[in-house]
């Protein structure tokens, strides 16, 4: 066991502060962009990565200019990335100004995919090691230890940047507008400000800060293709822990996380996987609006456009659904094994997406961690089958039970919050569940997973499993639909539409949302249990952030205003991804472009567009 001596304490504190500064550079831009535009910018990590790559390229071209070349490159990279930020804002996000906040999020995710492949194509797959910073290459001796000068420089950058931003926001008209917009969006409109220019400027500033953060990593970290995703999640954690819209909060949170991380690994080296999420979970459980946040900023993750009225299925739609079920049921008569396998998989994804839609679409609670329940269901079924040797029916029951119980616990934590805070807390819960599945090797097998989770006969064959899946998923989807039109479903929507009104009309808003959380979790568990059997194995990736994001994309792509949306979204996204991955080397970029195109053309999702088309046809038929 390590003994804490004064020199270790000091050096670890300095290490923590250096990481904190790096994190704050990214988080500050993210916070400013969210504050003004309410865009949850997933692409912020991509800006950071581009800053690092561009900085690397510039330093190579300007190597002959010495120190001027290096610092010029860092600044140049930041400015170029700022320009890219403006482009993203103008070409994509500007068109989504009036869509619910989750659609810009989806669009920025499309940008992430495109940037990933673009970086791979431009800079190649290998890690790139940048130059050291001229004049800051050495170290200083602190007690018996050496501490790099560049890290000291970084430690100073954090507070300097904070001070600079403070001046910018207090002393300039632009800063005044940013603060006003952060506190009250309508006020800015009332002041007669050109919102477009303000948003573009804010995106420039935010993206440039991320680019600066990336370029400043050159002397300490190799530039690589995974920088984007790893940093954006942590930056979000910092912003939320600090309190949305508070730059001071973001800096304090970055320091808190940096320091806890630096000391945490002295005593619990394996805690590295979840530490930041544990911190976030605890902070949000104690302070629902973060360290420096005010409740006012928590609004700003509208999931649904107000005017989306749910209607029961028309007779023709019912017939269409029945035909689909019949067609899939008849697949064993004419289809190949792969086709049956993938249709079974898409049906399962449809239930997963529909369960998130229940929470997000009807309940108005956006979850970034829904995969936790999917994964817990999968592990539940897998353990019941392999370790406990239960019969298949019991295994398929264990899945929703396990997930539902987890949902009761997670819901109890989450429904006290709303908006982005709720979304991030659900992410924290999911990450902790993920880390548990990853590290509880005796039970879960760790990252090697649980193997041999194959269904017994008669479900072992592709056709047998397809029919089992069809029956269960159709029942699950029908149940969710029935629940949506039940008094409970209406109460849930009422709690979303107007919580104060609902509470004053006898609806227990929290209890209703809590129950919805558990129901959604249980249905995600149904999907997870089936998925385990479809794949024959279970891994921690089933609970990973990327799975939660998949679910989010499926729901939004299909259209959140309709109960059919998630089903169509699952088939469209799942099918498209499977098809692209199988055939196209740059499938991520293509997928990103498709997502962007869909979001821009159809900001209400596929069903939204279909609905409009049908509406038009009916209208013209009526007038004819």
């Amino acid at each position: 066991m390590t003994v804490l001596t004064p020199d270790i304490i000091l050096i670890q504190a300095l290490n923590g502060l250096a990481s904190a500064s790096s994190l704050f550079l990214v988080a500050s831009g993210l916070s400013i962009i969210f504050g003004v535009t309410r865009v949850v910018n997933f692409a912020h990590g991509s800006f950071y990565m581009l800053g690092a790559y561009l900085g690397w390229s510039l330093t190579r071209h300007l190597a002959s200019f010495g120190a001027f070349g290096f610092w010029g490159s860092v600044l140049g990279a930041a400015l170029i990335v700022g320009g890219i930020g403006i482009l993203v804002e103008m070409l994509v996000l500007r068109r989504l100004r009036r869509a619910p906040e989750l659609y810009p999020l989806l669009a920025t995710f499309g940008v992430v995919l495109i940037v990933q492949d673009a970086a791979l194509a431009i800079w190649g797959p290998e890690d790139l090691l940048g130059p050291r910073a001229p004049g800051l290459t050495g170290f200083v001796s602190i007690f018996a230890s050496r501490f790099p000068v560049y890290e000291l420089f970084l430690i100073a950058v954090g507070p300097l940047l904070l001070g600079g931003l403070w001046l910018l926001f207090r002393r300039t008209r632009f800063g005044l507008l940013v603060r006003a917009a952060t506190q009250d969006r309508e006020m800015v409109a009332a002041l007669g400000v050109d919102e477009r220019r303000l948003f573009s400027n804010v995106f420039f500033l935010g993206a440039a800060l991320a680019g600066l953060g990336g370029a400043l990593q050159l002397p300490r970290e190799a530039v690589n293709l995974n920088m984007d995703v790893s940093v954006v999640v942590e930056a979000f954690v910092v912003v939320v822990v600090g309190g949305l819209g508070s730059l001071v909060g973001a800096y304090v949170a970055a320091v808190l996380i940096g320091i806890i991380q630096a000391f945490g690994i002295l005593f619990l080296p394996k805690v590295t996987l979840v530490l930041v999420f544990l911190v976030m979970g605890i902070v949000l459980a104690v302070r629902p609006f973060g360290l420096f946040g005010r409740s006012a900023a928590s609004e700003g993750l509208r999931t649904v456009a107000q005017e989306s009225v749910l209607r029961p299925l028309s007779t023709s739609s019912r017939i269409l659904f029945a035909l689909c079920v019949l067609l899939i049921g008849a697949m064993p008569l004419f289809a190949g094994g792969y086709a049956m396998g993938i249709v079974a998989e898409l049906l399962i994804l449809a239930v997963f997406a529909a369960s998130l839609h229940f929470l997000m679409g009807l309940g108005g609670m956006a979850s970034f961690g829904h995969a936790a329940f999917f994964g817990i269901g999968a592990y539940g079924a897998a353990l019941a089958l392999t370790a406990l040797q239960w019969p298949i029916a019991a295994c398929l029951l264990a899945a929703p039970l396990g997930a539902g119980l987890a949902g009761i616990f997670a819901g109890w934590l989450c429904v006290r919050l709303s908006g982005v805070y709720l979304a991030m807390l659900s992410l924290a819960v999911a990450q902790i569940a993920w880390a548990t599945s990853f590290q509880w090797v005796e039970v879960t097998g760790g990252d090697n997973g649980i193997l041999g989770v194959w269904p017994p006969p008669p479900f072992a064959s592709r056709s047998g499993f397809l029919l089992l899946t069809l029956v269960l998923t159709a029942a699950a989807l029908a149940s969710l639909r029935i629940a949506a039109f039940s008094p409970f479903g209406y109460a849930l929507r009422a709690a979303r539409d107007a919580p104060r009104r609902a509470e004053a009309s006898g609806i227990h808003v929290r209890a209703t949302q809590w129950a919805a959380f558990a129901i959604a979790a249980a249905f995600a568990g149904v999907a997870g249990g089936l998925y385990a059997l479809a794949k024959g194995s279970v891994f921690p990736t089933y609970l990973a952030i990327s799975k939660s994001v998949d679910a989010l994309i499926m729901v939004l792509l299909g259209g959140i205003g309709s109960l059919t949306g998630p089903i169509i979204g699952a088939f469209a996204f799942g099918g498209l991804e499977a098809e692209l991955m199988a055939s196209a080397p740059f499938w991520r970029a293509i997928l990103g472009v498709v997502i962007l195109a869909l979001v821009i053309v159809a900001p209400s999702g596929i069903t939204g567009v279909l609905g409009r088309q049908i509406g038009k046809r009916q209208k013209s038929a009526a007038s004819a």
Partner: protein, 255 residues
């Protein structure tokens, strides 16, 4: 004026050291419409929110039909017969007009936890009856998101009425409405109160509405009651006139 529905005693609230409400007493009886007026910052909304359960008072008592309900949540107050409308109107936008009222009726019948069965299959006739009372029957099938503001106010009233309240709290019921509509809506509320013996407490900026429909008026100034009485008496009260004149005639500006 017989049965007292709402009794408020010594209500106080302080924000960051500033005393917003300092000792307010009032009562509202069944079938009576009482207006709470005063310049901005007088403490009307704070008072209202303490009575409606959105704020917890620092001191004082709120009683409904004799039961102490101080600090109870809006939902518990609803169970005890308190209905309310909000200054910023909000109906359940993703539902039709009838569904809004049907949902309120389900809440009244304690059937919100039913996960099976279609909500729209029950209380349809009862909902139409409530809609009749507020003159919105013809709009029953329309989605609330597309209603005119005045109609939305009526829906809010219908939602509150569906629970057969004993006390109706209306915060700025006519704010944002055209002048003609204002009088109409308040006339509707006042007549319902009379006919059905509901106690109504409302805040209002439009003095025409207040003087036309209030049975009694309570004037708040800087957190305390400045005057109370029949409309004619309030109109003539020099202290009230001073407050409103001092604030620049229109009771909307200032403080």
């Amino acid at each position: 004026m017989s049965t007292k529905v709402l009794e408020v005693e010594g209500l106080r609230k302080r924000f960051h050291g500033v005393e917003a409400v300092r000792g307010v007493d009032l009562t509202v009886c069944a079938g009576e419409a009482v207006a709470l007026i005063g310049p901005n910052g007088a403490g009307k909304t704070t008072c209202f929110n303490m009575i409606g359960g959105q704020l917890r008072p620092d001191a004082g008592r709120v009683r409904i039909k004799g039961e102490d309900v101080t600090g109870m949540s809006p939902r518990l107050l609803w169970q005890r017969g308190v209905g309310r409308t909000f200054q910023i109107t909000a109906a359940f936008a993703s539902m039709t007009v009838r569904e809004n009222v049907q949902l309120a009726l389900h809440a009244k019948a304690k059937r919100l936890n039913h996960v099976f069965g279609r909500m729209t299959a029950n209380f349809g006739d009862e909902a139409d009856a409530v809609l009749d009372r507020v003159g919105m029957r013809a709009e029953a099938q329309r989605p609330c998101a597309f209603l005119a503001y005045g109609d939305l106010k009526r829906i809010e009233l219908a939602i509150a009425l569906a629970a057969a309240p004993k006390l109706l709290l209306m915060d700025e019921p006519t704010a944002g409405m055209a002048p003609g509509e204002r009088v109409q809506l308040m006339a509707l509320a006042a007549s319902l109160a009379k006919r059905e013996g509901i106690a109504v407490l409302f805040t209002e900026h439009d003095m025409d509405v207040v003087f036309a429909h209030a049975d009694r008026i309570i004037v708040l100034d800087r957190g305390s009651i400045l005057a109370e009485g029949q409309p004619d008496k309030i109109k003539a009260d020099p202290a009230v006139r001073a407050v409103y004149l001092g604030a620049g005639l229109a009771p909307t500006a200032s403080a």
